[in-house]
Symmetry: C2
Subunit: 407 residues, 2 copies
């Protein structure tokens, strides 16, 4: 088999752990598999570099930021390759560029356009274990780019797709995907298997085990992906195509996200094209809007528009929104950063009715007020006051019976 | 003018100093010059990475070592470019690869083959200050290489040559080139001007202000180079082509080098081709031999061959020498690491006689035994017991009148 193994920051936090990673990689290779390893920066390194950048400049250039940040993964890839060689295997570290990872030129959150991977293919055939610096690529213009937070997951899945790997293993500091955060609900259960769609919803909802875009990529190219711990040999959670069994389970997991803020434009004169105007401007600043709710006022002449954006982009989004508000003649702009989004996810929702109602009822029964609602085929999300987060997660986990063994 | 400015590790040791560098660069640009900046890794970073590598592997792969080490200069170049932009100038960080620095594939001490520099030329014309990550290049096969200790000096001079710069300024933590180490001789005097040849001898003799190969490069391409401090505005020392004035000075400087070891093959049967055999094997391991002395034994049938190599290569050189000794039937191999090389340098030696004799006489008068002698047109070197280093430097500095103002 050709296996891609990705190791996150905590798994390569120091040389001792890098040696453990090397041992696992060597063991996999000695079992007869071809192995491509993708590594993150040693934990803390990326934040250290970001901190240096903000000391050096009030507003660091993003192109230079990418050159800066990409160095963390280079360091780990070189050290990991050395440690693997020390165990008697042939190993070769490759940068994003040497791996042929071509991206667009949106610095600090670039998207992968293609992966050539010719050098890696040849080296694999020559018996090398490949160690790729994750999180990074290169533009057509030869500039270094990075793929955004958690981008090494995306590197791994994209490389697995490009090389037609049989399996992509994401090694992290948790055992797999749980029905919810075990720190909040001790009865949370590890899932043996989950569909791409469910994983995608969970990831986009803030469950941090797998980066959203990497799940999209895995789904698009049908890459069987395992999430497991680098600190033990537990089997982890397999992320695969939806199968018949999965439909029997109405809700697979409860997720929460405290990293969003809610922006509201109050009393926007209701004219066609207003929403487009607002959300185009925000999209042009590369800010991703999550939920959107629009209410028309009682007289029908003005609307309140609320939406959520990541906390990290709140300043940028607020500035743009305030400009737009002025332009549109809105009354004012309100920002709330004490919110949380609680979501339930499950492919079974497609064939079971009343799931959303049960969620609203449960929250209401416990005195949790709902500020915004958003639904998809396999998900219901509610924005609530952040102080109720833990309570909401616990009661939903309980009411949907997630602590019981999955069928 | 087009000016290349190189800043060493102590000049960019932290963000505060990087901001000082940025201020100097911006000032130079605002005076109307085009500026290319070459930066080293923040001081201590390279050693930290080397240390990590030796923790990860008993014998780190040199290709991976280069990928590892090159990250230090990337970090500094990105931070420096950000800091310059913060002062209102346009700046662009370029890696060795983006600068088009092509080298051979001798990892950890690669030689520059050519510099294309097209992107830098265009960016300079577009009004950018270029900040190049020093110490690194790339092979034709797209692998990252490093240029050896002090390699950022070489990057700077080679870039100055390739771009036809008017001046190459090497900023370091000393004021310029001194007649000898002021730590040993407080009366040591800063030279206003020195010829490439003298600088080359001084650099190769261990004076650490400018890396040897960078001086060779400056001489070959006639790059006017200034060595000066980044911590003040003192004018520094200009390294240029030899001129008439310089001939009047017999000795320009006294240098010492404690970073060599002496290897001796004892009683090698004297046959043709023996020296070639030894030094070919050592050269093939990329170890640079400095001094060589061969003595034929009294009966003419066996020879003792002594030579010096850098301390860092002593293990490698000893291993090779022991193998060769066995093959050639030599009696044994002796290694001495308690030696120092003391040298006097001056283009005036070409036209003044008796300089070497005066050196030997002075050392002898102070009880310093000479173990090896080597001379060139503008230099005399003696290997002595290292415990006499400071004494020898002091008495030679005195006897050649170096504390007086230069004519």
């Amino acid at each position: 088999m050709l296996i891609v193994q990705k190791y996150g920051g905590t798994s390569v936090a120091n040389v001792e752990r890098i040696k453990n990673v090397a041992a696992r990689v060597a063991r996999t290779a000695k079992e007869g598999h071809k192995v491509v390893v993708v590594v993150s920066a040693m934990s803390g390194e990326t934040d250290k570099l970001i901190n240096l950048a903000h000391q050096a400049s009030l507003n660091p250039n993003e192109r230079e930021m990418d050159m800066l940040l990409s160095s963390g993964e280079r360091v780990t890839s070189a050290l990991t390759a050395m440690a693997i060689e020390d165990l008697g295997c042939k190993a070769m570290a490759l940068t994003g560029r040497q791996m042929g990872i071509i991206t667009d030129d949106v610095h600090t959150k670039a998207r992968i356009a293609k992966i050539t991977g010719d050098r890696a293919k040849k080296a694999l055939d020559d018996g090398y274990i490949i160690v790729v610096a994750g999180f990074q690529g290169i533009t057509e213009n030869q500039d270094v780019t990075t793929l955004g937070r958690g981008g090494s997951d995306l590197s791994a899945v994209a490389i697995a797709a490009a090389l037609n790997a049989d399996l992509c293993e994401i090694y992290t500091d948790v055992d797999g995907v749980y029905t919810t955060d075990p720190n909040i609900v001790p009865e949370a259960r590890k899932l043996k298997k989950i569909s791409y769609e469910e994983m995608l919803e969970l990831a986009s909802l803030g469950a941090k085990v797998l980066q959203t875009r990497s799940v999209e990529f895995a789904m698009k190219y049908n890459v069987p992906t395992v999430v497991r711990s680098s600190f033990n040999d537990n089997p982890g959670t397999l992320v695969v195509k939806e199968d018949k069994d999965m439909e029997n389970v109405v809700v697979s997991g409860v997720a929460y996200d405290k990293n969003q803020v809610k922006l509201t434009l109050l009393s926007v004169p209701d004219k066609p094209g207003i929403a487009a105007k607002i959300f185009n401007a925000i999209a042009n600043a590369n800010v991703v809007v999550d939920m959107i709710v629009q209410n028309v006022s009682s007289d029908g002449k003005a609307a309140d528009i609320s939406f959520t954006v990541p906390k990290t982009d709140s300043k940028k989004a607020l500035k743009i929104t305030e400009e737009i508000a002025k332009e549109l003649g809105a009354k004012s702009v309100a920002l709330r950063d004490d919110i949380a989004k609680i979501s339930i996810v499950g492919v079974g929702m497609r064939t079971h009715s009343g799931v959303a109602a049960k969620m609203f009822e449960t929250l209401s029964k416990h005195g949790v007020n709902i500020l915004m609602i958003s639904t998809s085929e396999i998900k219901v999300s509610c924005v609530i006051d952040s102080k109720y987060t833990e309570l909401a997660v616990r009661v939903l986990h309980d009411v949907f019976g997630l602590e019981e063994a999955r069928a």
